[in-house]
């Protein structure tokens, strides 16, 4: 086997440009991918990211008067780009078949199903009408459709049936490569599952290779082994499906995951902010620049290339994927009491990435607060190292800057001074780091107080903290830590004193920051209901050890450690 033949399909630098519209739209922009035999590759992305254009480009269905296709498509070692239509026809249907996106207009409304499904057979094989009919019956049976439907017109069929017809049509000539474009859109769950099962069993039976295009991550998770994320005609992330869904490394992929309810049903839904950029716009930088929550200077000027960041894992990002804000390694802390040593934290390691909400759960006395205090440098660790944005934390540099790391303490009565006024408490970090003038500081005070839903009138600002309720003081403390616009917030039971409505509003505000600005949070709590709602990842702490860590849907649905199981059981007993 030569190098080129190792893959069934190899695409190099494929570009599809629709140049008959003004301005020309570059729908696919330098996509390269390889597909082995019997493999199933998924392509995900928002609508308009070029997924379907890629499919059309591969099958050679983009005509010269619509747009141009450049690059190389090697099918079994043979370049299809530039082949004349007559030669392409030999490949189409017999070698590469396309299951079109389901809609009425894909099927010819004046042709009966029999004629539609039989059409490729008629063009590719020399068969008599009776033989064709026989094949059509077989095909329809194969896709689980009653053969008598072949005498009806497309509009008389339901959506699920039409999808089966499209699959039958694509499979009519025994193709080696099946490109499936959005197989389940607009289908009810029942027919959706049937189609998925059908595709799965057909692939097993017929052994075709599949390229699955979908924005439904559930479908991707079920059918594919590898997945690629496409944005603005470019591949931004590629990897094994299970890995990518568990641990996305590009902000865009994570955005897609956060927008999908079928991955973890309890979590809140958050779309990706902003509009997809116009791919044709002549910007030299990263296409995702405008919507990215960690964009830097270099991102707007040079285009990131798809690079390996791990085994079977590629990301196109100047920052090597989602940034790691905080990394703690081997944190140890022992409290020496009179006649015993209390090991509060034993060898804890943790990692917080940009835009992640991590819940640290565990019973009281499991060392959660100690760990939090160590992370921000309030306590000294006996051993271990802490890195903020890959720089070792020493002294206070990570907490005393704008956009750094901040902590909110558990007890609001102790966290705010009785003797200071609200305005003084909230302004304190800015006073200490000598940021801006008096007016600017006051404006910032107003901004953060509004964020935590506190009044901003002079009367309230001049009140002493002594005269505030517990919930108000907690919010004042939260406002104080938000005033430096932290990138990472370590929140120790911050909502314990708040009423449900304020708590909900505050958490939504923080989640909003997370989605817009790549704000990350270590949320320490015993409230597992809340953790399940907001957390992307969960760390479970038990007697000073982090006993389990992982993506929240895995921890909450399939806890592995006995303590986690017990914790979840106790917390959710009344509800489930």
């Amino acid at each position: 086997m030569t190098v080129e033949n190792k893959y069934l399909l190899e695409i190099k630098n494929l570009a599809v440009t629709y140049d008959h519209v003004h301005p020309p739209v570059k729908a696919v922009d330098g996509v390269s991918l390889q597909l082995r035999k019997n493999e199933c590759l998924g392509i995900i992305g928002e609508s308009g990211c070029g997924k379907s254009s890629l499919a059309l480009g591969i099958t050679g269905l983009i005509k010269g008067d619509e747009g141009t296709v450049t690059g190389e498509i090697f099918y079994k070692g043979k370049n299809l780009v530039g082949l004349p239509e007559s030669k392409l026809k030999a490949y189409r249907w017999r070698e590469i078949a396309l299951v079109f996106q389901n809609s009425l207009e894909v099927l010819n409304p004046v042709l009966k199903i029999r004629e539609q499904v039989g059409e490729p057979l008629k063009t590719h094989y020399n068969l008599s009408p009776a033989e064709i009919d026989q094949r059509v019956v077989k095909l329809l049976e194969m896709v689980g459709l009653d053969p008598h439907w072949r005498h009806h017109y497309p509009h008389q069929l339901s959506g699920g049936m039409r999808q089966r017809v499209l699959v039958a049509m694509a499979l009519s000539c025994d193709p080696q490569l099946l490109i499936v474009d959005e197989p389940t859109t607009a289908l009810d769950p029942l027919s959706k599952n049937e189609i998925l099962r059908l595709l799965q069993s057909l692939q097993k039976k017929l052994g075709f290779t599949m390229l699955l295009i979908s924005h439904d991550l559930g479908v991707i998770k079920k059918l594919t082994s590898r997945v690629m994320t496409m944005y603005c005609g470019r591949i931004v992330e590629a990897g094994l499906t299970s890995e990518v869904l568990r641990n996305p490394m590009h902000c865009y992929t994570r955005g897609l995951l956060n927008s999908s309810p079928n991955l973890f049903k309890y979590k809140d839904l958050w779309g990706i902010a902003g509009e997809p950029a116009n791919a044709a716009a002549p910007n030299g930088g990263c296409a995702f620049y405008a919507r990215c929550c960690q964009n830097g200077e270099s991102c707007s000027t040079s285009r990131p290339l798809l690079k390996y960041v791990g085994l079977e894992r590629m990301v196109a990002c100047h920052k090597g994927g989602i940034e790691t804000f905080l990394r703690a390694e081997g944190i140890k802390k022992t409290y020496r009491l009179k006649n015993m040593n209390v090991e509060a934290v034993k060898e804890a390691c943790l990692e917080i990435k940009s835009g992640e909400v991590i819940a640290l759960v565990g019973e009281s006395g499991s060392g959660k607060s100690t760990l939090a205090h160590i992370l921000v440098g309030v306590l000294k660790a006996d051993a271990g190292q802490i890195f903020f944005k890959n720089k070792k934390v020493k002294g206070r540099w990570a907490t005393k800057m704008l956009g750094g790391m901040q902590i909110i303490f558990q007890d609001p009565f102790s966290a705010t001074s009785d003797r200071l006024r609200v305005r003084e408490v909230v302004r304190e970090p800015l006073d200490i780091i000598r940021w801006g003038g008096k007016k600017e500081r006051e404006a910032e005070v107003n901004r953060v107080l509004q964020m935590v839903q506190l009044p901003v009138d002079a009367d309230f600002l001049n009140r002493y903290c002594q005269a505030l309720s517990g919930g108000q003081r907690q919010r004042v403390a939260i406002a104080r830590s938000l005033i430096t616009r932290p990138k990472l917030l370590i929140a120790d039971e911050v909502t314990s004193m708040l009423d449900p409505s304020t708590q909900a509003n505050l958490l939504r505000e923080l989640k909003g920051l997370q989605n817009r600005n790549g704000f990350a949070m270590l949320y320490i709590t015993h409230d597992l209901h809340l953790a399940r709602k907001v957390a992307d990842k969960v760390y479970v702490m038990y007697q000073g050890d982090i006993v389990e860590e992982g993506v929240s849907f895995e921890i909450f649905e399939k806890p592995a450690h006995f303590y986690t199981k017990q914790l979840l059981q106790e917390s959710f007993r009344d509800l489930i």
Binding site: K400, I407, S417, R419, I432
Partner: protein, 285 residues
């Protein structure tokens, strides 16, 4: 600084909450203070030179009588109030400020600094202070400033201990830890958090120290270690008691009684005020 100012204002406001005894005490202190300030104007005669016959009982011209040299006692008392108040408040201020600072440093720094300071305080407490004061006063020579320094040297330990305890408690509060994470230095914490928090305590302590200092000064003066050129109350008593056979005569009824009365009044008033302030500042007491 603003915090300290605010506390001061609050303290003044709190004075209105004083009991009757407290208000009377405050009035007495105020009167003595005014007498000291206007001493040259309200005393009819000189407090240094003889202005009439010796040992005149209280009466016309000499409201409180005269001493053995014929110097007016009222004038002496008015001028003596100056010395007493200066010594009292000066010592208290110096002791409370110094002691407070030492306490803050010990409490905040902790570690060996704290240990050294605490041992020093322990030593100061067990030393018999009055004899040592006498020795020191004799060594340094008699002057008002020296007396203030000597007295302050022996009275800073109590404010230091109280303030240190308060700081140790305060240090554990998360708002201090939060301020530290924002990069606050010791100076910032001192002005913004520690001083306002310990100021009421220091103020109460200061007033108590004032009373102590006034008595001590009187004691030193009585022993003849005061500034002989300045007629403080203790010195008047010293003169009176050194008058041979004063107890066999009637002279003590004014010569000794009035300075004693002034001394007792001011010390009692200060004690009442400090108790009153303590009650207000620390409601749990």
């Amino acid at each position: 600084m603003a915090g300290t100012y605010a506390s001061l204002q609050k303290l003044l406001k709190k004075c209105r909450e004083f009991s009757l005894l407290g208000k009377i005490s405050l009035l007495i202190i105020l009167l003595i203070f005014l007498a000291a300030v206007w001493a040259p104007y309200i005393s009819l005669h000189s407090h240094k030179i003889s202005s009439g016959p010796a040992l005149l009982p209280p009466g016309k011209g000499h409201p409180l009588g005269t001493d053995d040299l014929g110097i007016d006692l009222w004038a002496q008392l008015c001028h003596g109030a100056r010395i007493s108040l200066i010594v009292g408040f000066g010592t208290a201020f110096l002791a409370a400020l110094g002691g407070g600072l030492v306490g803050i440093i010990a409490g905040y720094a902790g570690g060996w600094v704290d240990k050294v300071i605490m041992r020093l305080i322990d030593i100061m407490i067990v030393l018999p202070d009055f004899p040592l004061m006498i020795v020191l006063a004799a060594f340094l020579g008699p002057s008002v400033l020296n007396i203030i320094i000597v007295l302050a040297l022996f009275s800073w330990v109590f404010p230091a201990r109280i303030v240190r305890a308060q700081i140790l408690m305060l240090k554990e509060h998360s708002f201090i830890k939060a301020a530290e994470t924002y990069g606050a230095g010791a100076w910032y914490l001192l002005w913004k958090h520690f001083l306002p928090a310990v100021f009421p305590l220091m103020a109460v302590n200061m007033i108590r120290q004032t009373g102590r200092a006034i008595v001590s000064e009187a004691g030193l003066s009585f022993l003849g270690l005061g500034d002989p050129t300045s007629k403080s109350w203790g010195l008047i008593i010293n003169h009176a008691t050194s008058f041979r056979g004063i107890y066999f005569t009637e002279f003590w009824k004014w010569w000794l009684l009035y300075p004693w009365l002034a001394l007792t009044l001011i010390v009692l008033s200060l004690a009442f005020i400090s108790r009153e302030l303590e009650r207000i500042v620390n409601p749990r007491l």
